[in-house]
């Protein structure tokens, strides 16, 4: 434990000393035990551009941070300074890196830091550095904390947070935490069947556990159809369906259940653009195998998509139609 300066009370922890926003925060420039550190102002040159209008507190803290970078001081007060610096700018990756360097040099217990990281992640869930920091620490530790629970909490607030999903994938793969992961994705899809990230996670699990065996493909196709019965115009589900079918030798048009499903929807009058696009591709597949009726169907649907059901992409559908016709030597 550092010897406390005579004129200042001992700090509450070696890690931090309260918030920069606290009314009783004392700037480093006014602390007697920091008198030995010459502040290093930012050298922005004679004519700076895109100047950021820093607060006085920001300048006070960062002038000391730069000073400690220059001196290379390894100490608990240096570590505490990084807490203040990160509160002011959690996106400064060099501060995070310096903090990790200090944690290691001071041989600090990682538990406390993991808790600090959890706090920062909850406060700044879309910041790259906080997630990276935790990842490095967990790697260093060699075993996970409650990584899935942490991402679950973040995802409960923003179910599509890219950082949380990326971190979760890393933790699941690194520590083989696939157990229950398919169910997690399923739960999120129950809450929002349009959650593209959850669909992607499902693919990730299948890919890294069972692989896409014919049983798995069949199961996933059924799962998709269930989801599509709920919401037909769900691009995520249709994309997933195609992705899964790509893993099977039967292609888009070789699954009876699926063909029936699509025909059923069409007969019931459903003209969801994703359904029609799927039938175009499935029909094109059959056309390539010589099915002339399928070819006509594909051409007709391209026209319908262009004219009525997916007019945003009309030019694309007309191009598809031309390409198909050309491929099969028709007008």
């Amino acid at each position: 434990m550092p010897a406390a300066a005579e004129t200042e009370p001992a700090p509450p922890s070696m890690f931090e000393e309260g918030s920069v926003d606290d009314p009783d925060w004392v700037p480093y420039g006014e602390r007697p035990d920091w008198r030995d550190v010459q502040p290093v102002p930012q050298d922005d040159g004679p004519e700076p551009v895109v100047r950021i209008l820093y607060s006085e507190r920001f300048i006070d803290v960062y002038d000391r941070f730069r000073a400690l970078l220059a001196s290379g001081e390894v100490s608990e007060r240096a570590l505490r300074l990084t807490s203040a610096a990160l509160e002011l700018n959690p996106a400064n990756y060099s501060v995070w890196h310096h903090r990790r360097h200090l944690l290691q040099a001071l041989d600090c217990p990682l538990e406390r830091e993991l808790e600090f990281t959890r706090q920062m992640i909850e406060d700044h869930p879309k910041n790259y550095q906080v997630w990276h920091h935790r990842r490095v620490l967990v790697e260093r530790r060699g075993q996970p904390g409650d990584e899935r629970r942490l991402t679950e909490i973040v995802l409960s607030q923003d179910p599509k947070n890219f950082h949380a999903w990326q971190y979760r994938q890393w933790a699941v793969r690194r520590f083989d935490l696939f157990d229950g992961e398919l169910e997690f994705a399923e739960r999120l899809l129950e809450e929002d069947v349009r959650n593209n990230s959850a669909w992607n996670q499902r693919y990730f699990v299948c890919n890294n556990t069972t692989g896409f065996t014919s049983e798995v493909v069949a199961r996933e196709v059924s799962f998709c159809l269930q989801a599509l019965r709920k919401v037909k115009q769900n691009e995520s589900a249709w994309n997933y369906l195609r992705g899964v079918l790509f893993q099977s030798s039967a292609g888009l048009s070789g699954h009876a259940e699926l063909t029936e499903f699509c025909d059923g929807l069409l007969e019931a009058g459903c003209r969801a653009p994703q359904l029609l696009a799927f039938v175009v591709d499935a029909s094109a597949e059959r056309a390539a195998a010589g099915d002339k009726e399928a070819l006509q169907r594909a051409l007709r649907l391209c026209d319908e998509l262009a004219a009525e059901h997916d007019t945003i992409r009309a030019q694309y559908w007309l191009y598809r139609r031309r390409a198909l016709a050309k491929k099969h030597n028709i007008e």
Binding site: V40, L69, L88, A91, R194, N195, G243, I312
Partner: protein, 349 residues
């Protein structure tokens, strides 16, 4: 909003060039990108004349360069910093090193300002790039403290293309990383098995294009699938992932991807324009990610460069892979021609 507030956006960028409000402290290490948005934005708007002292801006950019002289033997840190925030002068402190996104935006900014890049320490810079590439082909952002993903692969490729020298990058590994990141829906993610996303899709497509491998790397099926994935991002404007909200920045990320894939003709530019116009802030100028959210430099620049791709009148045409005006690319070509007359530089290990 039926009008493009051309002059107001120019004023917005001019204001940014002087100063950014205090709440942008989170961008303290990325000021180079803010400078790029402002300078290149003014260029696209044909209002670069609002930058009264181009030379002093150029000086600021070069001040962020870590040259071989500063490196004192360890060229792995060479390149450009985003700002002087973490520098404590010479000799360099242990973490003072370049950041690949800042190197890209620094070079781009210099070109827009008409600088001939003669003060760029190319050999050192290429060594710096090489130090950032990982065995899986992806790239770190900087030597100390960062993640690796498609964003930095793109920046490294853009830098290599600009320097007309690929010795700082293993292109084969880069290509493999890109292909491994193509997903089941044919969109491209930041890395293998992650969710496909408009930003990473642009980074991947542009990387392949800059390497001259866009046609050879993708099968017909992959290319068709990718084109359709990109086109499916359009509702009014573009979103970045299926079932997500439309956002003005994808006007560029998705638009440029489609342009590079020779599929921009399928975009409904009338709808796109309507959306982008609605994100304009009539009071401050600038564009926000969606209507009423509040303008920021990134969305302003990407909305405008995206509109350039859509053929917006009054905007300069852009180079879709580099995201700078064709005028800036002319400056680049002249610099590259000059280098070809000089003895070659090679990345030093």
């Amino acid at each position: 909003m039926m009008e493009f507030l051309h002059k107001r956006h120019a004023r917005y960028f001019k204001f940014c060039m002087d100063s950014i409000p205090g709440e942008y402290t989170s961008l303290d290490t990325s000021r180079m990108t803010l400078l790029f948005y402002a300078v290149s934005g003014l260029d696209l708007l044909g209002q670069l004349d609002l930058v009264q002292d181009k030379q002093s801006v150029i000086e600021w950019v070069y001040r962020q360069q870590i040259t071989s002289e500063l490196c004192d033997g360890d060229l792995s840190r060479a390149g450009f910093r985003g700002s002087p925030a973490n520098s404590s002068g010479a000799p360099l402190n242990q973490w003072d090193c370049s950041h690949v996104t800042m190197t890209y935006t620094a070079l781009a900014t210099l070109l827009v300002l008409g600088d001939d890049l003669s003060r760029v320490d190319r050999a050192a810079l290429l060594s710096g790039l090489r130090a950032l590439q990982l065995p899986d082909g992806s790239s770190l952002s900087s030597l100390h403290g960062g993640e690796s993903d498609m964003r930095f692969v793109y920046c490294a490729a853009a830098v290599s293309y600009m320097l007309d020298d690929w010795s700082g990058m293993d292109r084969e590994k880069t290509r493999e990383y890109v292909l491994r990141s193509m997903r089941y829906d044919h969109g491209i993610s930041q890395g293998p098995l992650l969710e496909s996303h408009g930003g990473s899709t642009f980074c991947a497509v542009a990387t392949l294009a800059l390497m001259g491998e866009l046609d050879s790397a993708l099968t017909e099926q992959q290319r068709d699938g990718l084109v359709f994935w990109c086109l499916s991002r359009q509702g009014l404007g573009f979103n970045g992932r299926p079932n997500k909200q439309e956002d003005s920045c994808y006007t560029f990320w998705i638009g440029a991807s489609l342009r590079l894939l020779d599929a921009y003709q399928f975009v409904r530019t009338d709808l796109l324009r309507e959306f982008v116009y609605s994100t304009q802030d009539p009071i401050t100028g600038g564009l926000s990610k969606w209507p009423g959210h509040g303008a920021d430099p990134l969305h302003t620049y990407l909305g405008i460069s995206g509109l350039s791709l859509a053929g917006q009148e009054g905007l300069k045409p852009i180079h879709a892979a580099l995201n700078v005006s064709s005028d800036a690319v002319e400056v680049l070509r002249r610099a590259q021609a000059r280098w070809r007359d000089l003895p070659p530089v090679k990345a030093v290990d």
